[in-house]
């Protein structure tokens, strides 16, 4: 059956409106002029070439990669235990706990950021990459918990029992059965939480002090019109890598769902 054509047109316009501006970003990053406007003057890869020459940018990139890696490991490790507990056991306060873990998804970032800054200063933690890691872990946890919960949902609990039954203890069972079976979920969670941290701006802006992450660095550069094409090139790379990471994560998440049930 054919759908009404007005609805198709609406959907098409909707997608164009949503994604066309994003596609302008890579487009103008190849523009040889410094002014971001049509018509495009000429094509160049200079802006990409110049990225490698900027030490502060490279430093910010390393900061982001470091923070992202630590955040991914921390939030996935915590998410793994939380998700297993949520799926396997019934306990008092379970619903409240699950709700609290998901809360960062809906609290406005600016509120979280400013209150965290106040908290960290109060307990004597100066803004630095450490505070960014703590803030980002808080933000990334709902993502890792929900990804890993779906991995455990598809995980037959009798697999762990079968392992105990065959004479293997709790820790070895976790290592030999639980981890391998949910490993696609773990990989998906690592990729998603890394991306969440890598792309995050508000918290990093408040908490990074004088150690900017890449988004904070980009924001600082936008003020200089001459640097804008350069920022566009950087942004295009970030956009592409984020999309790639998330596609990869989705691939692993689906594999984890497929492996649990037969």
């Amino acid at each position: 059956m054919r759908r009404p054509s007005t609805l198709t047109a609406y959907a098409f316009l909707y997608l164009v409106f949503l994604y066309l501006p994003v596609l302008f970003l890579p487009l103008f990053s190849f523009n040889s002029g410094t002014i971001v406007a049509f018509p495009i003057k000429g094509w160049t890869l200079d802006w990409y070439r110049k990225l490698g020459e900027q030490d502060t940018l490279i430093q910010a990139l390393w900061n982001s990669l470091g923070v992202g890696t630590v955040v991914a490991l921390l939030s996935t490790a915590m998410g793994l235990f939380a998700a297993r507990a949520f799926v396997r056991y019934r306990f008092r306060g379970q619903r409240a706990a699950e709700g609290l873990v998901m809360l960062p998804l809906v609290i406005p970032g600016i509120i979280v950021a400013s209150s965290m800054l106040v908290l960290f200063l109060f307990i004597g933690l100066k803004p630095s990459l450490l505070t960014v890691v703590l803030g980002h872990t808080f933000l990334a946890l709902p993502f890792s918990v929900s990804i890993l919960k779906s991995a455990f949902d598809d995980f037959d609990a009798s697999l762990e029992e079968a392992s105990y039954d065959l004479g293997v203890g709790v820790f070895d069972t976790f290592r030999r059965v639980t981890l391998p079976v949910v490993s696609p979920g773990i990989v998906a969670s690592l990729l998603v939480t890394f991306t969440v941290s890598f792309d995050e701006f508000v918290l990093a802006f408040f908490l990074s002090g004088n150690q900017p992450t890449l988004p904070v660095y980009i924001w600082s550069q936008i003020r200089f019109p001459a640097k804008l094409p350069n920022v566009l090139a950087l942004g295009s790379i970030l956009l592409l890598s984020s999309v790639l990471l998330l596609v990869l994560a989705e691939y692993f998440r689906r594999r984890s769902s497929a492996s649990g049930v037969q």
């Binding site: 037959d156 009798s158 697999l159 029992e161 079968a162 392992s163 105990y164 039954d165 065959l166 004479g167 293997v168 203890g169 030999r176 059965v177 391998p180 079976v181 490993s183 492996s259 649990g260 037969q262």
Partner: protein, 365 residues
């Protein structure tokens, strides 16, 4: 089978909050027997199995395996192994590594390989070590689960509804194979099932459970011939349960007035707990004779009308409406000559030998 008890349950109870999943379970399982726990779903049979395996701790009572008190002994330290209902085949390991799982690090590699090959041979999966877990059929998964448990040389093999995931033909084949395997290994098998035919064809003895209680423990033939009450009688096979009055008790013989069938002398059932004046008798459908004329050689007869006919192939079931009872009486006749002899509405006679009539006592519940 020896006379040694391999498992002893003493007053075992499992309580979840206010719900009693199992209570007052006393059970001795002999070394080398095939024992089935039979009952409808939710009767507590799986709970009992899991308490033997060590996945659940009893709230009361003791579980002894080979004379050892299992209190506080976790599942991984018990001399039992289990075949799970879902088979729980590790999806990330191939067949060989699944079967070898429990031996890894506990024996030299060459010995493990040797034992894996033997175990797979035993369940007729020889040479399939490298097959992936996802490439197995239902029957193969079941065999891998068996091999993985048996390779541990358990004192007791526990089976949780092991055949319920298989289709009918395969299930019947596996019943015989598992029975043969059990007899050649001489290991005690304890199986949980809700399927009475499965329990009867495979087991040396059956424990029938209802509502968390073990009602009767007996051999399949005794369960069928001398059930302890109406509930067990109608769960194991089909049973016509008829009201009767106890007239006189004479040692092993009861004189009863079986209303529809008149007065008769029947054997007293030693498994029945109470017999009062109002009691019940049971007659299996296949032990009734159905004829169009009044049968001469049957002492107890009743006249009725065919209310339903069902053709099963190997036998034919008739429902006979009798004036003296509310429920129609079921009769099952073997299909000797490929004919259905009676039709709905036919007037017929039923006859029974008093030796076939079962004393069901008086139900107190």
């Amino acid at each position: 089978m020896t006379e040694k008890n391999i498992i002893e349950l003493r007053g075992v109870e499992k309580r979840y909050g206010t719900f009693l999943a199992a209570s007052g379970i006393d059970l001795d399982l002999k070394e080398g027997e095939f024992f089935s726990l039979l009952g409808p779903s939710g009767c507590g049979k799986t709970t009992v199995l899991r308490m033997i395996a060590g996945f659940q701790e009893p709230t009361k009572g003791t579980v002894l395996i080979d004379g050892q008190d299992m209190d506080g002994v976790p599942a991984n330290n018990r001399p039992t192994n289990m075949v799970f209902q879902s088979y729980a085949i590790f999806p990330h390991l191939n067949v060989g590594n699944n079967v070898a799982y429990g031996l890894r690090g506990k024996a030299p590699k060459a010995e493990i390989d040797q034992r894996v090959a033997e175990a797979l041979e035993m369940v007729e999966l020889g040479g399939l070590e490298d097959r992936g877990a996802s490439e197995l059929s239902g029957g193969q998964r079941q065999r891998v689960a068996l091999a993985r448990a048996l390779i541990m040389r358990p004192k007791v093999l526990l089976l949780d509804e092991p055949l319920s995931a298989l289709d009918k033909k395969l299930r019947e084949q596996m019943q015989f194979e598992m029975r043969n395997l059990q007899q050649s290994l001489g290991i005690t098998f304890v199986m949980v099932t809700h399927d009475q035919y499965e329990a009867m064809t495979m087991s040396d003895r059956i424990g029938v459970m209802f509502n968390g209680r073990l009602k009767q423990v007996d051999t399949p033939t005794t369960l069928y011939a001398r059930p302890c009450d109406q509930q067990v009688a109608s769960f194991i096979g089909e049973m016509n349960i008829l009201p009767a009055q106890l007239l006189e008790e004479n040692g092993d013989t009861l004189s009863v007035d079986a209303k529809a069938f008149g007065q008769m002398e029947i054997e007293k059932n030693p498994n029945v707990a109470t017999s009062a004046r109002d009691m019940n008798i049971g007659i299996r459908p296949e032990q009734l004779e159905i004829t169009s004329e009044k049968p001469e050689d049957y002492p107890s007869t009743v006249q009725g009308k065919v209310s339903n006919v069902a053709f099963y192939g190997e036998n034919i079931h008739y429902h006979i409406q009798v004036a003296e009872t509310d429920k129609p009486i079921s009769v099952s006749v073997p299909n000797y000559f490929h004919t259905v002899d009676f039709n709905r509405g036919d007037a017929v006679w039923l006859g029974v030998q008093s030796a076939s009539v079962i004393d069901l006592g008086t139900d107190t519940e």
